[in-house]
Symmetry: C2
Subunit: 337 residues, 2 copies
Amino acid sequence: MKKYNVAVVGATGLVGREMLKTLSQRDFPIDQLKVIASERSEGKKIQFEDRELTVESVREGTFESIDIALFSAGSGVSKEVAPQVKSAGGIVIDNSNAFRMDPDAPLVVPEVNGEDLREHQQIIANPNCSTIQMVMLLKPLAEKFGLKRLVINTYQAVSGAGKKAVDELIEQTKAYLNKEEIKKENFNHQIAFNAIPQIDVFLDNDYTKEEMKMVNETHKILHDPDLPVTATCVRIPVIFGHGESLNIELQNDFKIEAVKELFSQTKNVEVIDNPAAEEYPLQIDTENNDNVLVGRIRRDNSVENGINLWLTANNLRKGAALNAVQIAEYLVENNLV
Amino acid sequence: MKKYNVAVVGATGLVGREMLKTLSQRDFPIDQLKVIASERSEGKKIQFEDRELTVESVREGTFESIDIALFSAGSGVSKEVAPQVKSAGGIVIDNSNAFRMDPDAPLVVPEVNGEDLREHQQIIANPNCSTIQMVMLLKPLAEKFGLKRLVINTYQAVSGAGKKAVDELIEQTKAYLNKEEIKKENFNHQIAFNAIPQIDVFLDNDYTKEEMKMVNETHKILHDPDLPVTATCVRIPVIFGHGESLNIELQNDFKIEAVKELFSQTKNVEVIDNPAAEEYPLQIDTENNDNVLVGRIRRDNSVENGINLWLTANNLRKGAALNAVQIAEYLVENNLV
């Protein structure tokens, strides 16, 4: 089997480390592996299976002979460095917001629109974590019943904001319990024992960037630019795993049992929906589970063809690293590298 | 000024203690004051201003000469004991679910439907905490623009489940940080660093009782039994203050500025809505604030006349104790005792 030269850019971050773990767990066919981060981390050692890798920073020639570079180092780095990979002949799979709405960059969840990779021009965008887990459910619903309108509310984990954000939640929580001063650096408001109804910056329309990512990325991934979608994104004091509550209007009538059956037959989706036993998806359940978990599936009688449901997924894996590696796998399996 | 003989039933609980505090803060005209709890708490001392009160349990004659009894001891106690107060000639203001949907019992938020108290038959119901804060905003919207449909998502604090639930969140959080075993007693799932998409028990329609309270109580309070409403209620690891995200379809067109102006003129509602300064209502802001806080007010372009907003309020005060005391004040001011 052919092997590939792979680079992970942002290798020391939460998502970068998860990318390395995922490449190993899924036996991605790697020849050379480069781990790249900022100059601050240069020289650090990272163990990958039986290889001891040394963290490099980006220099001239870094990406020569690299086939696939997985990026998770923020959109500034992506904008600057991704073109270098492309010039050197490699493919970028970028976890940042830099190229997601670029018409030349496919925005891909392999189970949903893997086919879009066939048109790639060496830069491929990995969608926003909250969007990825949601479209895994919207796609089968769209195909079987048609989508009419979508109201999204998120309950997002702090790990979506990186390792420092996780540390801040932990430190603030300890300070609260010890009645000490609560220090804020990464979050603009206290996150310990509090929720913050803002993720990413505000835009001119008074929605946050995160909320508009969910709207615009959903349009692009589902190839349905006119689908009415609205979102409210809220950060809650949970460490790992994003929760989402979806209120969906379908085009056509449905039986609730048929929706449950549809999801139970959808690849990488798991139905956990047993009200009698008080079983439904939890965010803590996603720690060692790569599936999108869905439950609380029930008819919404306040509108025609309405449905409510609740889903959770691991925001660092299916929401980021795993999806990026799945894109790489799709490229390899379909001779698109 | 006339003074009244008052009893607080469930005086040792989170809401009961808040009721006593509120009665004092608002100088409710009290003559005799009885503090009542279960036999377990009998004999405990409670300080109320300069009086040292002794906790009593319910016995024959307990409610003789009581004018107003504020109940917060669970619906079992309310069902059993409230009729005794009524027989003795007193008025019950009940914070439990026992009488809320009873057609003979007014279900009242004084700012919204205080007039309903004029028809009281000695038992008056205090609505569910999540419903109270929401109808404070729905009423002015209904009057000015008309309501068409409502999608509710809640982000509810653990204190809504009582003192033991708060203790459990704290204990689980400590255990998590110390890598010790997480013990569950009050919540069916881990609540530390997790969200639970279930509040109260499940009903036959797969909604929870809390979700259907929000639907049915809203219908009753707004006198609009056909208003399409759907709700998803989620417990998050926050101690005090409920957050809610509302997606509202109005009957008539509106200007966003007119909605903000409307709320800013609504009594006991405070608009905190400055995206440029990243200001919006937080749950921790409600600790010493009795108002309903509203922000993130923005047009929802996914539907005609749509609006999204976010609100928070103190679930123990406006959501429970304060609203109950305000009902008592309304009775006194309007000679309805």
